[in-house]
Amino acid sequence: MSGLEAVIGIETHVELRTRSKMFCGCAVAFGAKPNVNTCPVCLGLPGALPVPNEEAIESILRIGAALGCDIVERSVFHRKSYFYPDLPKNYQISQYDLPLCVGGHLDVVVDGETVRVGITRVHMEEDTGKSLHAGDGGRIHAADHTLLDFNRSGVPLVEIVTEPDLRTAEQARSYAAELQRIVRTLSVSDARLEEGSMRFDANVSVRRPGAGFGTRTEVKNMNSLRSLQRAVGYEIDRQIALVAAGGTVVQETRHWNEATATTLAMRSKEESEDYRYFQEPDLVPLEVDAAWRQRVVDSLPELPAMRRHRYVATGVNAATVSSLVNDDALGDLFDAAVAAGADARTVANWLTGEVVAYLRQEDVTLADTDLTAADLADLAAMLADGAVSASAAKDVLRGVLAGEGRPRAVAGARDLLQISDTGLLETEVDAVLAAHPDELARIRHGDAKPFGYLVGQVMRATGGKADPKLVSELLRRRTAG
């Protein structure tokens, strides 16, 4: 309508779940008592020196490799200087012009359309401490006093920067969700937005399609995927309305306010930021040799996109594939059940249908239930053999989830087993035919109508436990005679 399109780039910070901090031996732990996980290095005491954590470097290389980045042979750390009370050295050890990983991409599918999001760079840095501003509004300028917790100071942080390739708030959310799945699949971070172990900043601008970039704003403080989407959506609308009304967008940082569902300009800084980057002289350049790079690439697990391709190839429909890929536990159970011989489509439908519904209804996780891959394989086999009907199988599944036992036992206890003994059913079929000579005659004269009626009579005679497919089969054979 406005003729304007949005241009969005996203910067993501991921706190790594390493045993120790980026440059010292202190533990990385969420929720510990304030300032217990600190030492001279992460408190910035005089004379303390940083020593890089190899586990963290390995983790960032995995992220870079998973995003298809080039891992550089030689990378250096820089100091980024700014004064803030929770930054103990008043500089952050980060990376500047020689980051560890450059030039990757991440494909995101929205409404069936694939968007390739360029990854500019993935670099390593250290986290800051946390400020708790006591008093008005929780902001430093209105606070009576500020409490500082340095447990987070020096926790390894990976920053992932995209090209300005996203065009809608929904794409932004899909990108963030896919990145979160990748990070979790790599087991390098908890990637919890609500705990701040994964944080997104969005750069948003608007322009006429094909024109140069407009002035961008940086939107911060989104602590869920939903708020990321809402914040970006709000900011796009705000800018379009502003431009449509003849205004101009000001380059600034804006804070997303979840309660009011708006973005607000943060207090503007009096002077422009100059971080005075220079190479960190306390550290030597990081050398990543070819063998290390290869080892990282070779050790990558199956990534969500690869899993998606594999599932689609089994014939599972697209919506079901997404559900399986979005939940590692479901996906893993699916893989195990298929490996145990279960039919892929059947198990996929059960998992994303009955199982998910049960978990949601009971508010439990898969791990809280007794359901195993072997159960799914057994149940699928029972269905294929005609031992249970499709609807009875779902009842059995609920029973297994509720802890009633293994599928065969549950089917027995719930009286859901079908009669699929051909000999027994033949007797029943013959009895029904003997009792309905008129119908038999009509069928033999080419009138198919009574057929369903006869099936129903056999089912009734067996108390509904006959396998209807088998009954039809037997009737067809007999009436053809």
């Binding site: 408190l43 303390a48 103990p88 500089y91 500020t146 550290l283």
Partner: protein
């Protein structure tokens, strides 16, 4: 026997092992010397008599039990006050750290404790090691034991004065642009800046991280080698420390210089150097030549850029290194209406004029739009200088020059003009920029009776050949004069 405070480390160690001297007696002699001289010199900021006494008693007990920790066992050693000492105030000579007590020991302090050394206390320095005279200390200047109207050099002036006068047998300093070697020269001592990375910087309050090295001050080449041996080696807490074997520091001290190729650094042995210093330097070179060394003039033109290069790189690094002194977690806090104001007030009142000057210089040199012209250019020049020095070391084994362009200057003589003060580092700066080791040793005195220093530089990890040349020149020069203040009025039986 002479006053034990006048013994070398080697001689004191021998006397202790012969049972002629105890560590406690030695410490008492040193403390007595301090009590006689401190009022004149102000070498120490903190004299830790109780801690030293306990360490000396422990050393005596251990030695009596046959547990010998080596040549420093029981020897009183002083520490520059920018080396962190657990439980003992460490100020870096700055008001901003007055009263600060570190919770940990610097790596070199741990090494000395492990070697059984008796740590006497913390010595005065130019604030954050920025200066060449120790006049920039927030706690008042240190004076030169040879002439108390003169500076001891700096920034490790307190360590130099203490060792020269006998209120310690040896000391550690830090050398970023000559801060060990220049005071050693001005106080008639041996001072060493080791190869960058040979000694861990962990616990050294940083001035300029890519240039800082901790090194010993001692009365003889042998003593300096003993001290360096004790503190050298890889440390997992310093990512820039060198892995691998420590050079055989003192292995060549008795070898002589026959056949060694010695290069006289042209750019540092002519213009700008005092005539008496040059004459003594020339004489010393002549002795080396007579002793069989092949002496040649070697030109390293890039040396001309050492001062501007250094005074961009060092302030740039210090501007970030000193950012942590903000009044938030430790040290001085001067309140303000906002956090920013509190930080600014704290730094404005806590730092002295020279420190503020260098922080401003460095901040400017790193600023957007200026980085390339200043810091970036300095790094490129540093790279070119490395290339020039590497070429020079293909022709010669060591390079030599005077250590300081002049002997000790008068207190107040250069404080009005920072640039004049900066020029006193002209001979020592190149080794810091290059990373290789350099040593200063005394070769004589000028007409005023003030010591003259001779500098030996070597390529990275060339400590062995550097000490080899220094030891031979020490023998040839026969320098044995002690400053007037190092009196021996009190003698041990």
């Amino acid at each position: 026997m002479a006053d034990a405070a006048d013994l070398t480390i080697a001689a004191a160690g021998a006397a202790i092992r012969r049972g002629e001297l105890s560590a406690v007696d030695l410490l008492e002699a040193v403390v007595r010397r301090a009590s006689m001289t401190e009022a004149h010199l102000h070498a120490y900021l903190t004299l830790d008599q109780a801690g030293a006494r306990a360490a000396a008693e422990q050393a005596d007990r251990e030695l009596a039990a046959g547990d010998d920790r080596g040549p420093l066992h029981g020897i009183p050693i002083a520490l520059k006050d920018n080396l962190c000492t657990r439980g003992t105030e460490t100020t870096a000579g700055s008001k901003i750290l007055a009263g600060y007590v570190p919770p940990y020991d610097a790596a070199v302090v741990t090494s000395l404790r492990d070697a059984g050394a008796v740590l006497t206390g913390k010595t005065n320095l130019d604030e954050f090691a920025m200066g060449s005279s120790t006049e920039n200390s927030a706690f008042g200047p240190t004076r030169n034991p040879w002439d108390t109207d003169r500076v001891p050099g700096g920034s490790s002036g307190g360590s130099a004065a203490a060792v020269a006068v006998g209120s310690a047998l040896g000391a550690l300093g830090s050398d970023t642009g000559g801060s060990v070697r220049q005071p050693a020269a001005l106080c008639g001592l041996v001072g060493v800046k080791p190869t960058y990375g040979l000694v861990s910087r962990y616990g050294l309050i940083a001035f300029a991280s890519s240039l800082d090295q901790i090194g010993p001050l001692a009365r003889t080449v042998e003593d300096a080698a003993l001290l360096l041996q004790a503190i050298a080696g890889w440390d997992r807490h310093d990512a820039t420390s060198i892995r691998g074997d420590v050079p055989a520091i003192g292995a060549g001290v008795a070898t002589g210089v026959s056949g060694l190729r010695i290069g006289v650094l042209t750019e540092l042995s002519g213009e700008g150097i005092d005539g008496e210093v040059l004459a003594a330097f020339g004489e010393a070179v002549g002795r080396l030549s007579a002793a069989g060394a092949e002496v040649a003039e070697v030109s390293v033109p890039a040396v001309a850029y050492a001062i501007p290069t250094y005074y961009l790189i060092a302030p740039a690094e210090c501007s970030a290194n000193l950012a942590r002194f903000d009044g938030v977690r430790y040290g001085l806090r001067v309140d303000g209406a906002t956090t920013e104001e509190m930080m600014a007030n704290t730094r404005g009142e806590g730092f002295g004029a020279e420190v503020i000057r260098r922080i401003l210089l460095g901040t400017y040199a790193l600023s957007a739009g200026y980085y390339d012209a200043f810091y970036g250019q300095a790094q490129r020049v540093r790279t070119l200088m490395r290339r020039d020095f590497a070429a020079a070391y293909e022709q010669v084994d060591v390079l030599v020059s005077p250590t300081s362009p002049t002997t000790a200057f008068r207190i107040g003589e250069k404080t009005a003009d920072p640039l004049t003060m900066y020029l006193s580092d002209v001979c020592t700066l190149p080794a810091n920029l290059m990373g290789g080791p350099a040593l200063s040793l005394p070769i004589g005195c000028d007409a005023a009776g003030l010591p003259i220093g001779f500098q030996v530089m070597a390529p990275a990890l060339g400590e062995e050949v550097m000490f080899q040349v220094a030891a031979e020149l020490e023998r040839l020069s026969g320098f044995a004069t002690r400053p007037a203040l190092a009196s021996s009025e009190v003698t041990l039986p």
